[in-house]
């Protein structure tokens, strides 16, 4: 039994290493025209994939491990983005009121902390609610955040948005999306890997087991003396931290934010990514973010038929694979195992 668990962990580690290796190697090869020609567009897409991987991983902690649904995570994304911009922009927020700005590399972490605080706040009513009510609560939360940033125009410039968001730089080394093709990508990739490792540590720790016990059997967890309220709050806070951090990265990458980005539809895309990839493991969120982003881009040539086909593709894949893409991978590897006699993964 013990051995088995260790094997599974080992295999997960190897998968993670493989994924990381690919994400570093593939761009490198492209840089040297090994696979395809180089382009800023390609790195931009990879950066988006990384940011959404952080988002879906955060959502996975809440939904996949703790079993709490959210249709409002764009709210945390929004809080992260605006918090970081307001602390670092010379013409808005801190820059406007006090004439001081904080370096973006610091504010992205502060912004994530602020988002986590909102996560704790949201968990107060959310702790008690079941599925549908939780869905509604999170939708309402999303709307409230959106209304706040669009109505307090003094603070956020409302629907007109904030332009010229400062770039992230560390000791004068600037991670610009404009002047360099790949610098920002490697920065985002670094954070993505960091967050994925932290996520694996969390879910394999005592806290993670607390989350899983809530998801699997609430009554039993309660009976065994698991402090449900504490773990749910933790889950919301960690999840919000992840998504808030991703939001901040997003703002500094695009260089422009306005409320339009953080509508409830964005939350639906987040949960689509997670479910599409498969929840409750390391790889699912990565796959989900990658595949959904890729599908959306590869359908571009279809112009106005694009979203229709996107819907159909998602529907068909769910019909055939109602456990997410990770389930497909498992099916294949199981059949391979059966054919190959014994698996040594």
């Amino acid at each position: 039994m013990n051995n088995k668990i260790r094997d599974v962990l080992k295999s997960k580690k190897s998968i993670a290493i493989a994924a990381v290796a690919l994400l570093v190697i593939v761009p490198f090869m492209m840089e040297h025209n090994i696979i395809l020609r180089q382009s800023k567009y390609f790195y931009l897409l990879l950066s988006f994939i990384c940011i959404y991987t952080i988002v879906t991983s955060g959502l996975d902690i809440l939904f996949g491990y703790t079993g709490q649904v959210s249709f409002g995570h764009a709210g945390f994304f929004c809080i992260g983005a605006y918090a970081s911009v307001l602390m670092s922009h010379p013409e808005w927020g801190f820059g406007k009121w006090f004439g001081i700005t904080l370096p973006p590399i610091l504010t992205i972490f502060l912004a994530a902390l602020i988002a986590a605080l909102f996560g704790i706040l949201l968990s107060i009513p959310a702790n008690k609610l079941v599925f549908h009510f939780l869905a509604l609560l999170t939708i309402a939360f999303n709307y409230l955040v959106l209304l706040a940033v669009s109505n307090f125009a003094e603070l956020t410039n409302g629907y007109i948005g904030i332009t010229r968001v400062p770039e992230i730089n560390i000791f004068g080394f600037s991670f610009s999306t404009i002047s360099s093709k790949y610098k920002y990508y490697y920065l985002v990739l670094f954070f993505t890997i960091l967050f994925l490792i932290v996520k694996q540590h969390i879910v394999n720790s005592r806290i993670g087991r607390g989350f899983i016990s809530i998801r699997d059997n609430l009554m039993a967890a309660n009976g065994c003396g698991v402090n449900i309220r504490y773990y749910k709050t933790m889950s919301f806070a960690i999840s919000a931290f992840y998504v808030g951090f991703a939001g901040a990265l997003y703002a500094h990458m695009i260089g422009f934010i306005s409320p339009d980005t953080f509508v409830q539809n964005t939350s639906v895309i987040f949960i689509t990514m997670l479910l599409f990839g498969g929840s409750g493991n390391l790889l699912g969120p990565i796959l989900g973010a990658t595949i959904i982003t890729t599908i959306q881009e590869s359908l571009q040539p279809l112009a106005d038929y694009r979203m229709l086909i996107y819907g159909i593709v998602i529907l068909i894949i769910i019909l055939f694979q109602p456990k997410g893409i990770v389930g497909l991978g498992k099916n294949i590897s199981e059949s391979m195992k059966r054919r190959g006699g014994e698996g040594n993964a």
């Binding site: 493989a18 395809l36 931009l44 629907y159 332009t163 509508v263 590869s298 040539p301 590897s333």
Partner: protein, 405 residues
Amino acid sequence: MKKFWGFALALAMMVSLAGCGSTKGSGETGNVTEGGSGEKYSYVIGHYGGVTGQVATAGTAGLNAIKLAIKQWNENGGVLGGQIGFEFYDDGATTEGAVKGVSYLIDDRKVDGIIASQLSGNIQATGDLVEAAKIPEVGTGMNPAWLQKGWKYLFRSLANSEGGAAPLVDAMEALKVTDIGTLIYQDDGNISANNLVMAELKKRGTINIVTEEQAMVGETDWTGALSSILSKKPNGVIIFAQGEQGSLMVKQVRSLGYTGYIFGCETMSMPDIRNVAGSGADGVVFFTPHCIPDSVDEASTEKEREFLAAYEKEYGSLPAHDVAYRAYDATNVLLTGVKEAGTKDGPAVRDTIANMKIDLLAGSADYSKFDNGECLSGQKVYIIHKGKNVLFSDFLKENPIDTYK
């Protein structure tokens, strides 16, 4: 190990799929020939806009007009001794889509010039990317803001909404409006247009603003806000909104029993306003750079008649949104600039456009008069009267002021 390779393979497949997606490229079929990597064509124009998502009516009209303009140029021998290619990216009216789209057009499709969307947020989000690539871009939005950021490669093919405030307030004064209530749809274009009008009203001080109401994105019912406006007994109502919502607001304020004048911005020129609001649309006064007539014969200039006839022949109906005019003009500005510069070199084309004079659907444009990429100023004021868009000055000549009250 097998499991490992299974996943590695899947991931590699996906990554290459992303690559393929980007190289497969321009499926922009239709009437414009396939774009390639720039070898077949002497000049490639890129366009990002939303043909899905919230403002698909405007996006589709703009895309159609650009394709039409390029087709006409190609029939007349193209530019720089070769044919013109076209690349399109559907941004779904989102900022993220626009950023991806501009990056795709510049870095992957290697376009030589860009026609921007009409959404000012999307232009602002991508301005730095275009500037860094030194590619001339012509925008189709009316918001003054995006040309005030100092981008050198960005131009506009129409007058901005700044020029609309004064004539609209003139019209209010001519109609003896004394108390006015406002309902403003909360998006950047309408908010900024309204701010200009409010500034003008406050400067003149002749008209009293009784109440300012807001309409949120994604609503369809404004009975509450409109009732609140009407309870303050204004004799004029300002409604600034996108065409879809504006038509409903007009309809709803009429069904609440208001029969006086309504003041709007350029979106009120959409034919759909009159379709949706029916006879309720009569008495709407608005400023606009372009006003789509009901038939080709009613076009106000020869140039407009030719454009509308060609558009109708190509797509079977007149444009549904005046973004078609703007995008058509934008394409002509860009291509004329290229032709006069005699090269597709970005900085050279930019310098040529910045000093160019050109006749557009919007009127005689002169970029040399402005130093920030504008070419025109001032707007025309129209009124909807008996189901037709009529020039406001003509309306005043033939009708008493209290036609609608």
